[in-house]
């Protein structure tokens, strides 16, 4: 191998190595920090991870907000209008958090309720995050299909 070729080979293998390391690190970082969004119906159906963080999206159910007196702990119900999920959060809630408002909460399942470490409500009261709207639409669609199937069964 002549020196020019040898040098090129070294340079190219270094580049390949660097790209490989960068890609591996990126994939690693992505996997560590990716969270999926589920609706209460999907959690109910067992699609959500039991021991890993995920995001729960839906609407804060009317009349479900309770404060634990003397603390910053609040519990409330997130619903997609088909299934409910009880959520507990300790901390200060965003300004737009209220009944009937769509929220995205991040956290873990703990003893059958969702233990949230973050609650997001968006800054425009008419705005529903697309993800939440999709999740609710999906829950709606899934809800209808089994209902139709049931109807067929009874006949």
């Amino acid at each position: 191998m002549n020196p020019v070729r040898k040098r090129r080979l070294i340079v190219i293998s270094l580049i390949v190595l660097a790209v490989g390391i960068a890609a591996a690190l990126t994939v690693f970082a992505l996997q560590q920090n990716m969270t999926y969004l589920y609706s209460p119906s999907e959690v109910e159906a067992g699609h959500a991870p039991m021991h890993a963080r995920f995001r729960l999206g839906g609407v804060v159910k009317e009349g479900s907000i309770h404060r634990v007196p003397g603390t910053l702990t609040t519990d409330f119900v997130v619903t997609d209008r088909f299934h409910d999920m009880r959520v507990q959060y300790t901390g200060i809630l965003p300004d737009l958090f209220r009944e009937g408002q769509s929220v995205i909460t991040t956290g873990l399942m703990q003893n059958g309720q969702f233990d949230a470490s973050e609650v997001l409500a968006k800054h425009d009261e008419t705005y529903m995050p697309k993800e939440v709207a999709d999740a609710i639409a999906k829950a709606k669609a899934e809800h209808r299909i089994p209902a139709a199937a049931q109807g067929g069964g009874t006949r």
């Binding site: 990126t26 920090n33 809630l93 300004d95 009261e125």
Partner: protein, 659 residues
């Protein structure tokens, strides 16, 4: 009647933009001077009509003409007059008009200041800018007309989103857009060079000041946005890796790379193709940012109810601009590797490392930002990529850049003096270790704050060593040309920013507490005594206002008045109360009432948070100073000067070359 005039003005501007694109470029192609000469007057005409439209929209806000749908949606009778001006760009339609107006300001500047550019080149640049303006005016008129009427006119409007009723709205969008849109000039220069088959690198020198100014504005705009989020959103954070923040950060990163690549091309003739590619990417990312913000495809604090048509239009425009310019690039880009050779240890190599890191960082941010879209498209679920992804990769990628940063100015072009590296390196490392020891003595025991101090000292001392070396070696009056002064400022800004970012992150104390009136929360060395909440009133809001006395060792420092405002339509907005300081901010915001006069409070002690923005502003100053260098004053014979210095032998010229 008046709003219709605004609409008419926009339509005329659209027509002029179409002409401004077609005539000069055709003229330059056929070498037809009268056609080329139309570029300037068309640019002026377009500016006049866009400014007229903008003025009319502002007027509609001032007189509260609610028959204009956009005014009715974003203003009401109670809105104080000083928010009626920035309300013009408070939502989609108006901010798009601001985008076009700022593009016109840049175009006008190029038309006025670029008079000494070669005629054909100047005509092409203005033509490309005309094309961009045409796209955006068409977008505005077809999908987001700010002058659309709503009849019958409502008696009162809705409201300007309370988050936006803040002085931040006056500053942040125009400055940010100056930066965003400013990259269109660097882009237009690159495309004009490609169109003309300009294989020389003279165009790079002409475009350098424009790039620097745009980047300076973008830095300032990002700083303003970060400061606004910190003071207004009530979370006390200054950067969230939100898709829309990323949208402005990606062009900033590529812009930083572009500034340095342009310097290499200008001074050494190298990296020509790369510089051109970066200019295309910087502007494409600006467009992508507009797409992300405006289409509502991503969930972010900035996404308001969106219209999918808009997303499709911008995506199409993006495809035309990126696709077209990359095609042109593929056909025309300088194929022959040009420029002077350089050794492995040289300034070029260090700048390349920096360029590589900045562009790869932009790419990872892009990946993380668009990943949720990919997930949705491939139907693998609704994914979000958390902030730690960005933080981790960004830190990792910036490490080599920060390590290389002090050495780049200390290296000669072509071939660096290794003995100098060694001497300077020993001093820099020594000073950094010393600063770490001082930090230890002052009480920092954790890894992160010590890292912040040493890393910041590393950059700052390296920059200072170069400044001293110049002071000693260069003759009086030639020590710090503005271009170099800008570089020193911006590099010092990096050091200040690092100190601010790492120290704020590691030393902040953040507590959410429930307090009854009279109770005290201890946060770090500070006592926050809560004195209850009383009602107060503003021009268009009612507020619950808390009183919090902050003291240290029994001595009162300041009394803070955080508010929870309620606006006419019942929207609630938290106003944090902040005691700013050079070394620390004390920050209180109100949470929710807990009954019996008790409140949830968010109490922060944030050391060095101002340094983050000070660093950003230093970078801005750097961009502006560098652009003002007299090296960039245009001369007709600029081409002849290109890659001079090659045979420079006298000492002064060597030093100059080293600059």
């Amino acid at each position: 009647m008046i709003p219709e005039l605004g609409q008419l003005a926009l339509i005329l501007a659209l027509l002029l933009a179409a002409l401004q694109c077609a005539l000069p470029i055709f003229g330059a192609w056929r070498d037809h001077r009268p056609l080329m000469a139309t570029a300037r007057s068309l640019a002026v005409g377009q500016f006049v009509f866009v400014a007229l439209a903008f003025g009319i929209l502002t007027y509609a806000f001032l007189v509260q003409d609610f028959s204009v749908a956009y005014v009715a949606q974003n203003s009401n009778l109670q809105l104080p007059w000083w928010y009626r001006f920035p309300a013009v760009w408070g939502a989609h339609e108006g901010s798009l008009l601001l985008w076009v107006l700022i593009l016109n300001v840049w175009t006008l500047a190029v038309a006025a200041l670029g008079g000494k550019l070669p005629e054909r080149f100047h005509a092409r640049v203005l033509g490309v800018l005309g094309f961009v303006a045409f796209g955006f005016l068409l977008f505005s008129l077809t999908t987001s007309n700010p002058f659309a009427r709503i009849l019958p006119a409502p008696a009162d409007g809705a409201d300007l989103n309370p988050v936006l009723q803040d002085p931040g709205l006056i500053m942040h969008p125009p400055v940010l857009y100056m930066g965003y849109v400013g990259f269109s000039v660097a882009f237009a220069f690159a495309i004009a060079a490609l169109l003309g088959g300009e294989l020389q690198s003279a165009w790079v020198r002409w475009s350098r000041p424009w790039t620097n100014v745009a980047w300076g504005f973008l830095s300032a705009g990002i700083v303003a946005g970060s400061w606004w989020a910190y003071s207004e959103l009530g979370w006390g954070g200054w950067w969230f890796w939100d898709p829309v923040e990323n949208a402005s950060f990606m062009p900033w990163l590529v812009g930083a790379a572009l500034i340095h690549a342009q310097a290499v091309t200008d001074k050494r003739g190298g990296l020509r193709a790369w510089t051109m590619l970066l200019a295309i990417f910087a502007f494409s990312l600006s467009l992508l940012g507009t797409f992300l913000v405006r289409s509502g495809v991503l969930t972010s604090v900035h996404s308001f109810a969106a219209d999918p048509k808009r997303g499709v239009f911008i995506l199409g425009f993006l495809a035309v601009v990126v696709g077209g310019s990359l095609l042109l690039y593929a056909l025309r880009a300088p194929k022959v590797a040009g420029g002077k050779p350089f050794a492995l240890a040289s300034r070029e190599t260090l700048i390349l490392i920096g360029n590589l890191m900045l562009t790869v960082a932009a790419a990872t941010v892009l990946l993380g930002t668009l990943y949720p879209l990919v997930g949705e498209a491939l139907n693998i679920g609704r994914i979000s990529v958390g902030a730690p992804y960005f933080g981790f990769l960004f830190m990792l990628l910036m490490t080599p850049l920060v390590l290389a940063l002090p050495f780049a100015p200390l290296s000669r072009w072509g071939n660096a003096d290794l003995a100098l590296w060694k001497r300077a390196g020993l001093r820099i490392v020594g000073l950094s270790i010393l600063s770490g020891i001082i930090g230890w003595v002052l009480g920092a025991r954790d890894f992160l704050p010590l890292l912040g101090v040493t890393a910041a000292t590393y950059v700052l001392s390296g920059t200072a060593i170069y400044a001293i070396k110049r002071w000693k070696e260069a003759p009086r009056g030639k020590r710090y040309p503005l271009e170099m002064f800008g570089m020193l400022c911006a590099h010092a800004g990096v050091g200040v920013f690092i100190a601010g970012a790492i120290l704020t992150r590691s030393l902040s104390i953040e507590q959410d507490v429930a307090l009854s009136p009279g109770q005290t929360a201890h946060v770090g060395v500070y006592d926050f005594k809560f004195d209850g909440v009383a009602e107060t009133q503003g021009p268009n809001w009612l507020a619950q206002q808390g009183t919090v006395d902050v003291s240290k060792n029994g001595e009162t420092i300041v009394t803070l008045y955080p508010q929870k405002r309620t606006y006419p339509r019942g929207q609630v907005q938290t106003e944090a109360s902040i005691h700013p300081g050079v070394f620390r901010d004390l920050y209180v915001s109100l949470g929710d009432p807990l009954g019996d006069g008790d409140w949830a409070l968010r109490v922060y002690d944030k050391p060095f948070v101002r340094w983050i923005w000070a660093g950003g502003l230093l970078m801005m100053l750097g961009g502006f100073c560098a652009a003002a260098d007299k090296r960039f004053r245009m001369r007709r014979e600029a081409t002849a000067l290109e890659v001079s210095g090659a045979t420079a032998t006298t000492r002064i010229e060597v030093v100059e070359q080293n600059a």
